[in-house]
């Protein structure tokens, strides 16, 4: 579904990702873990074309997303092709990024109506279904600013799902939320993972969630994959010392967790 081939990303002289090669299969739920600054979020942003790839290729469903090789050269793909491929990808952001000038339902139907060309009626019906699914049926006419963080994030999830994405990118979706509502949002995502076959690429600090939802976990450090395993193996029996240190720090098992970073 997604193939990273020799992916490189640099911001000026600062190389964030280097020689990155991995594939995500259709229906995979891949969680990227690692210390901040390890390049996890950058990977999601590259797939969403929010950042420009500085080297290598990303393929989505076999098609080049940003650049392709033609006559031995790396050339950018047409904007039209990029747009067409991008429509198969949805993203939920840490800061929700709902449109404050629109109501909840307008947020959800905006892209289905104006990008996919659905009728307003059809899109609204679907939006109502999605709102029910995220437990916000009564908030269709509300404005985002009147909602709590958790409610806003649930709307953002509905908005992403309204586009029927084949790939869903979740970028630290609970990091900006109060601890007591994190569970609600994760519960919804768990439900989506169980009832759909959407391919998910997840960046999170919620290790329990990663364990429950994903079938693969990639440990990142310094822009490289240092370890890859199933969640059961990764969380109970990590091989790499860097992974052990990281998990020890975030999971907080044992009394000496504070300060081990």
């Amino acid at each position: 579904m997604i193939d990273f081939r020799d992916v490189e990303k640099a911001f000026g002289d600062n190389v964030v990702l280097h020689d990155l090669n991995f594939s995500v299969q259709k229906g995979d739920r891949v969680t990227l873990i690692g210390p901040s600054g390890s390049g996890k979020t950058t990977i999601l942003r590259l797939v969403m074309t929010l950042e420009e790839l500085t080297g290598g290729y990303i393929f989505v469903g076999g098609e080049p997303l940003t650049h392709e090789e033609r006559g031995g050269k790396r050339v950018p793909v047409s904007k039209r092709n990029q747009k067409r491929i991008r429509q198969r990808i949805g993203m939920v952001f840490q800061q929700f990024n709902l449109f404050p000038n629109m109501t909840v339902v307008e947020n959800i139907i905006e892209a289905p109506v104006h990008v996919l060309g659905q009728s307003k009626r059809e899109a609204t019906l679907k939006a109502k279904e999605l709102l029910e699914r995220v437990g916000l049926s009564d908030k269709a006419g509300a404005h985002p600013t009147s909602l709590s963080g958790g409610q806003q994030q649930r709307v953002a999830i509905a908005r992403a799902l309204a586009m029927d994405p084949e790939i869903l990118l979740l970028d630290e979706v609970t990091s900006a939320l109060d601890p007591e509502i994190v569970g609600d949002v994760l519960g919804i995502l768990r439900n989506i993972a169980e009832t759909t076959d959407i391919t998910m690429l997840i960046v999170t600090h919620e290790m329990q969630f990663a364990r429950d939802v994903s079938n693969r976990v990639l440990m990142f450090d310094g822009g490289k994959i240092v370890e890859e395993a199933s969640p059961s193996v990764m969380f109970s029996d990590p091989k790499h010392q860097r992974t052990k240190d990281f998990l020890h720090a975030v999971l907080g098992d044992g009394e000496d967790t504070i300060g081990t970073r």
Binding site: L50, K83, R86, P100, H114, P144, T145
Partner: protein
């Protein structure tokens, strides 16, 4: 002495005599130039702000430079220049265009600040939803930018309103100058200028109320 003191007395007959002229000039010149000028300025200002943001570098720099030149030269000089450069146009049209363009350069700066105030995350959300550039601007960026800019835009409209007497330099008699001419002819300055002040106030006050209401309407409902 008698003549001078008479000038400071209030004569209802003089007030009644000058009022129709003042109102006519107010509608025909002051109001016309301000309303049409504001329409041009608010649209052109947005176009300039968007052009600077969207166009590739050398072009956007050129637009920025031209806007700066217009903003930094007095409107009187622009009025004179335009009246000699476009002899075939009637003077009111020249007035409307010059005021429109002059204030567009000011309003473009307001729009620019408004556009800059839209958080990066909003742009990213439009990308994530594959929204078109046009739709991104019209449905997301401009509505959010406007919310922050309405008060400043309204102030420029009022400021344009108060700048209309400068039209005299190209021979267009607005309400203020009509009052001055009447005063010069009759020594009844008091009546004429008092009425001018009242008319300005009666026109500006509802305008500021309107801007206030617009501001409230654009505020996000919480």
């Amino acid at each position: 002495m008698i003549g001078i003191s008479a000038a400071f007395e209030w004569h209802w007959s003089a007030a009644a005599e000058v009022l129709p002229t003042l109102l006519t000039q107010f509608v025909k010149v002051t109001l016309l130039v301000t309303v049409l000028g504001t329409v041009i300025a608010s649209i052109l200002g947005l176009v300039i702000a968007m052009a600077i943001r969207v166009l590739p570098r050398p072009l956007s720099e050129a637009v920025k430079w031209i806007a700066n030149v217009i903003r930094m030269t007095p409107i009187i000089i622009q009025l004179l220049f335009a009246s000699y450069a476009f002899l075939s146009l009637d003077l009111i049209t020249i007035g409307v265009i010059v005021y429109g363009i002059h204030y567009a350069t000011y309003m473009s700066e307001v729009y620019r600040a408004g556009i800059d105030s839209v958080p990066k995350g909003q742009w990213e959300a439009t990308t994530a939803l594959s929204m078109s550039t046009l739709r991104t601007w019209t449905a997301i960026i401009i509505p959010q930018a406007l919310r922050a800019t309405i008060p400043a835009l309204g102030n420029y409209a009022i400021s344009m309103f108060k700048d209309t007497p400068y039209l005299l330099v190209i021979g267009v008699v607005d309400m203020v100058n009509a009052a001055r001419i009447y005063g010069g002819d009759t020594y009844r300055y008091t009546e004429a200028f008092t009425l001018v002040g009242i008319i300005f106030l009666l026109a500006s006050y509802p305008t500021s109320l309107l801007i206030g209401r617009l501001e409230k309407r654009l505020a996000y409902k919480t």
